[in-house]
């Protein structure tokens, strides 16, 4: 602890001089980086439009209100598609996520040197790329439509689900597994009776949690052409039909709040 003599009295300081110097340098660098970033953003901005922004915002607001309520009759099918994209995508993702999770968990992986890195790579690469980018890619490959959305959501969710499930597998109670093994159970029986019951609550929680996120994500997938209510949003935006846009945004908001409520209720019931 740095204590200095100063005119006969001891003065306590929180940090040594070297430490405070280091901290000061770190803050200076961080500030410089932030200022540089802000400068770059400001250079790429047309400030005239920004000063004009309040007027534009008011203009859009007057155009968008009131929402065109009768348009809601045309939104039934897109909402059904959105729900399907999220649900089927989550189900497909779970089918792939479980084996990947078992291969990635340290205590269940068949081979820590060969299989585990591959499983971890699958988890990282599917997780780092947003579902909109997967959708863009899949639209180029399999054409626009609901299927591209389902597959995009599925791929994006594999990494997320697998990561949470494999962390749950690594945290299981080992004595139960040993007890099942001691009865002479085969590898698969150990999994079915020793491991699966322990991770089942975590698995269900992850599934519902991801479904909730997927509802959110599938509402905007249509912006790139992958089906769902986003298609209506993008076409309304393209024809500048602001009353329709505001209605669609309200519907999306309702869907998000509803799915969050459902997922919270289900998780409460399970855990």
């Amino acid at each position: 602890m740095p204590v200095y003599e100063k005119e006969g009295t001891k003065v306590w300081q929180r940090r040594t001089q070297a430490e405070s110097l280091m901290r000061w340098a770190a803050w200076l660098t961080a500030t410089a980086v932030f200022v540089y970033c802000w400068q770059q953003i400001s250079e790429a901005t047309t400030w005239f439009f920004v000063w004009d922004a309040p007027r534009i915002a008011e203009d859009i607001w007057t155009r968008a209100t009131p929402p065109r309520w009768e348009y809601i009759t045309q939104l039934g099918r897109p909402i059904w598609d959105t729900l399907n994209i999220a649900t089927l995508g989550t189900l497909i993702a779970l089918c792939f996520a479980v084996p990947v999770a078992f291969m990635a968990a340290r205590n269940t992986t068949p081979s820590a040197t060969f299989v585990r890195p591959i499983a971890l790579l699958i988890i990282v690469s599917t997780r780092s790329i947003n579902s909109l980018i997967w959708a863009l890619l899949l639209i180029a490959v399999i054409g626009p439509g609901v299927l591209a959305g389902v597959v995009a959501i599925a791929i994006r969710s594999i990494g997320f689900c697998a990561k949470l499930i494999y962390e749950a597998i690594e945290e299981i109670d080992h004595t139960q597994v040993e007890a099942i093994t001691a009865t002479g159970a085969s590898r698969w029986q150990v999994m079915a009776y020793g491991i699966v019951p322990q991770i089942a609550p975590a698995f269900a929680g992850v599934a519902v949690f991801r479904w909730d996120i997927n509802i959110r994500e599938s509402t905007v997938l249509g912006l790139v052409g992958a089906g769902g209510i986003g298609l209506q949003l993008s076409s309304s935006l393209n024809i500048l039909a602001w009353p329709q846009v505001s209605l669609i945004l309200l519907v999306i908001l309702a869907a998000v709040v509803l799915s969050e409520w459902v997922s919270a209720k289900v998780r409460e019931a399970i855990i």
Partner: protein, 270 residues
């Protein structure tokens, strides 16, 4: 208890069902089956188009083995730099704003009116997806990284304030009371009683949010809010899969290194 045991004795053991009530089990089972059938029936898939596209899918997967970093190097570099700049600026501003809002959204330190206002801000920010906010902000502020920066800052506020507020609400009261008993002013109370308790988690969450912001900044370009997304979109549109693969690999690498970095930082502060 013994009658239950008598009923079970001598019988083969069966795995107990997941849902105990039989009618609920059957309702849920049949209901989900019906839903699945209905869902599959209503997805219209153009299988001929899918079959046609499989070649392109294979070409794309092959492109990952020979990504082309060179021929569009300047576009990729500019896009990535813009994404990183947006991420850094939005994270700094977002974190700075979300700390006071997080304090206000914690019921144990904020009075009711402030609590309600801050919770309202958090709820609005969490309910709107980044991409929708970006569309609106691009319409208002024009194309460019400013719209992306504002979008990410706004999204950061919702995420960080909520988690910070929950952390403050579950903090240890004793320490905070001890500081208050020593006659500290409000700011001193926050600084010495509350902040040390939530700091490790705040740093961890901030690092996690930087990571999310970078990932999100990659898609904001799709709607004109700056970043690598525009370059990526163009690469897909022109079927330049090798360039697209290069961009995706770069995104994955940056996200991986950010995760690694945040792991180190979190291990140090906790």
């Amino acid at each position: 208890m013994s009658t239950e045991l008598d009923a079970v004795l001598g019988q083969r053991w069966k795995k107990p069902p997941l849902i105990k009530r039989r009618w609920l089990r059957w309702t849920i089972g049949i209901g989900s089956l019906a839903y699945l059938v209905a869902a599959f029936m209503t997805i219209d898939v153009n299988w001929a188009r899918v079959y046609e596209g499989l070649d392109r899918g294979a070409a794309f997967i092959l492109a990952f083995t020979s990504p082309d970093f060179v021929s569009r190097a300047s576009d990729i570099w500019e896009g990535l730099l813009e994404s990183i700049i947006m991420t850094v600026a939005a994270s700094v501003v977002g974190i700075a704003i979300s700390i006071p809002i997080g304090l206000g959204a914690a019921r144990n330190i904020a009075p009711l009116p402030i609590y309600l206002i801050c919770r309202g801000i958090v709820a609005i920010s969490r309910a709107l997806q980044e991409i929708i906010v970006a569309i609106l902000l691009v319409a208002i502020f024009g194309f460019g990284p400013l719209a992306g920066f504002l979008t990410l800052s706004f999204a950061t506020i919702g995420f960080l304030s909520k988690l910070l507020a929950e952390d403050i609400e579950s903090m240890d009261k004793v320490q905070a009371e001890a500081i208050k008993a020593s006659g500290a002013r409000w700011l001193q109370w926050i600084n010495y009683g509350v902040q040390p308790q939530v700091m490790p988690r705040l740093v961890g969450l901030s690092m996690y949010r930087v990571d999310i912001n970078f990932r999100e900044s990659a898609i904001l370009g799709l709607v004109g809010a700056g970043g690598i997304g525009a370059t990526l979109n163009t690469a897909f549109d022109r079927y330049e899969y090798d360039t697209a693969a290069a961009i995706l690999i770069l995104i994955i690498l940056i996200v991986m290194s950010l995760e690694y970095l945040s792991g180190i930082i979190r291990a140090r502060v906790q």
